[in-house]
Symmetry: C2
Subunit: 422 residues, 2 copies
């Protein structure tokens, strides 16, 4: 691994410099660093930007003036290439949701001071819903107070729940990992000829896109998950047990995919429902996920062999099986955000517009960030089967192009090569 | 996916045919099908064998005469190539430990009858400890009763706990998945700047080899897991909490790897110790793994952000990141088992002898199966640090060659291509 020394940025140049600042925020993904590389490529393709800085740990790093000189740490294409295939947020991340500037102007004033101090003309924020909220509020604050700064968003989220973009960077790679893992688990459980239920919990509190990826093995004629429950549809325990019984009657070993956020018709998380009474030897409450709760339910109600699996953080960090389509698009969105910024757009987010499925064609656009922030794009009900235990072919067709292609990831001593920026 | 129709084998040819039967047993791995391919290659390279059959679900399939004609279902090199990269046991598996033939001869007589009926001269059993026990008992039964059958074992286990072989097929690929996932998780957790403990549970009830693979990212200068607890050494809760506190004082976000089978000095599983009192809303006992139990312990004793992750079945089925070294060696061991069988060896297992680490060189040998069956090769104490919270450089050096190389896996619609034999 290349270790690059953190350089503390000193205030360079005069007042007529135009510098660009970029930061990453929210949950890490496999593709968020490709967007960072795209930002750098966009900057280098232009003569309008002098220096390009990265803020550490999102907006927190802006407030703390915790900057990295990206031209310094990413000097050559090899480093940029490695960064494209390095998972997680190389600049670090934060979960800082900015308050209303009408109520408390202090942090906004601080940011503006920092922008003036470092001659930052352009700020690109790569992130999800909360990050787009920051882009929205900050750009609005600048407009209202006549500060001539440009604030642009670049999308990122494994959850694929961002509004106004066909899909979000990070989703395709996570979906590819899930599709691949499910197809491998399918082979694993098929080796035994005893009745068994394997329940796989997949990320998604309110949006079931990632869970839907458990269907993708079907494009190769496999079953993928036999039953799929998305968090968009009310979950019913009795119905679930019936579904499982019906399936294991036909096929002894079955695979069930379930969103972490499945809830009953009252909106209660399934996990809470089943596990709320459990305490450990210290008398503390057990926090169980949905799959574990359902494992317990199957054990109690059916009594067959049952196992729960959480794809956990691996699904958002498995860069070794990133989707080439996802990485290329993420990079393009970073470039698009810069190009829009250089064209004077502010308070907007780079986004993807799908032109066609087959052949898969997209266009990179920009959309008003106030219609992205605080919205959540969930799976449409018509893409979930009426029984609520599977997804439709339309949903499979939507996802299929997003997992295509394998990246040119380099291995070093048998392990994927990575780069650290600090 | 290529679907191949199951052909029920009819009794072919006369009494002077020499057929070969192969079966797979025990927990599936990423490499066990490569050994099956090796068996087939060994057969095809010789003129001594007429037909080659696969028994479905291990010795159970032998008893039930549930056979597949392998020359039929694996006709071309493309199918064999795909099989090498398909995880799990393509012939199915079982967990059937044969009883003592001195006490109950019936199943042994049945097997012998089946061998005569199908003109099976050679039987190759690919599997772990229990499967080698079957090879041992069956070959002994044949010798004592003057049956001229050849019974050979080919090793397989992700646990790497087989005696008399330097390492076992399946281990290298699982270790590569673990090393890669740990290095990816390391990047993921490093993105946040709040104190956090992430505990990763890795397979191994009695042997900690796989857990030790959490150290492998170090060969590239990363930390890998910051603390590693193998099941070979008695686990002490207080000591663990102290280790964690010491580490998070220096580095806010830390990664801990722990064997599923860690036990205290009395031999009690850590998971039982902590979770035995927990019951769900139905009043049933909660079954928690070691990592989940330790997560609860950290939450109670330290109170910082803590998460547990189980690599679960993915670690033994992630064919998409198989080790090329592992796949090649697994194939060679299948061939070696056949070659030994054709040379008249019986009651033995094909094995690997390491000649040197750098350059990595091995020799394929055969060893007496009675010294493999019912033995367990655990991690030597001198390869665990005196503090019991890490592994030594010698252990890293032992594992490093086993994860080298990436396979030439083919993708179809963005997902690794697989083959089903029935």
């Amino acid at each position: 691994m290349e270790e690059l020394v953190l350089k503390v940025i000193s205030q360079k140049g005069g007042n007529n410099m135009n510098n660009l600042l970029v930061a990453q925020s929210g949950g890490p993904t496999v593709a968020i660093n490709a967007s960072l590389v795209g930002v750098l490529q966009g900057v280098r393709a232009s003569s309008k930007v002098d220096n390009v800085y990265g803020a550490k740990n999102g907006i927190d790093g802006v407030l703390k003036e915790n900057f990295i000189d990206l031209n310094e740490v990413l000097r050559n294409t090899e480093a940029m290439d490695t960064l494209c295939y390095t998972p997680s947020s190389a600049l670090g991340t934060c979960r800082h949701k900015m308050g209303d500037w009408r109520k408390d102007e202090v942090p906004y004033k601080k940011i503006i001071d920092v922008f003036y101090k470092y001659n930052i003309k352009y700020f690109i924020y790569i992130g999800g819903n909360d990050s787009m909220d920051t882009v929205d509020k900050l750009s609005e604050y600048c407009k209202v107070n006549d500060h001539d700064f440009i604030i642009m968003g670049a999308p990122k989220t494994v959850d694929n729940d961002l509004n106004l973009t066909d899909h979000s960077p990070g989703f395709g790679s996570a979906a590819k990992y899930i599709a691949t893992s499910i197809s491998e688990l399918e082979r694993d459980i098929a080796a035994y000829d005893v009745p068994a239920v394997t329940i796989v919990e997949i990320m998604g509190r309110n949006a079931g896109w990632l869970t839907a990826a458990a269907s993708l093995a079907r494009v190769n004629g496999s079953a993928g998950a036999d039953l799929i429950y998305l968090c968009e549809k009310a979950f019913d325990n009795a119905r679930f047990i019936k579904d499982v019984k019906d399936k294991i009657a036909k096929k002894s070993s079955i695979l069930v995919a379930v969103s972490e956020g499945v809830k009953d018709s009252q909106g209660n998380y399934v996990s809470d429902q089943i596990s709320s009474g459990a305490v450990d030897n210290f008398g503390h409450k057990y926090i169980a996920g949905a799959a574990r709760a359902l494992e317990q339910l199957v054990r109690n109600e059916i009594g067959c062999k049952v196992r729960s699996i959480e794809l956990n953080l691996m699904q958002r960090s498995a860069a070794h099986i990133a989707s080439e389509t996802d990485i290329i698009e993420s990079c393009m969105l970073g470039q698009k955000a810069v190009n829009c910024a250089l064209d004077g757009e502010t308070g907007r987010m780079a986004a993807i517009k799908r032109l066609s499925d087959m052949p898969y064609r997209v266009e990179f656009i920009s959309v008003p960030v106030d219609q992205v922030a605080n919205h959540e794009k969930i799976v449409p009900m018509e893409w979930i089967t009426p029984e609520g235990n599977d997804v439709t072919e339309e949903l499979v067709a939507y996802m299929k192009p997003l997992i295509q292609g394998e990246t040119n990831i380099k291995y070093e001593n048998g392990i994927p090569k990575q780069i650290k920026l600090y």
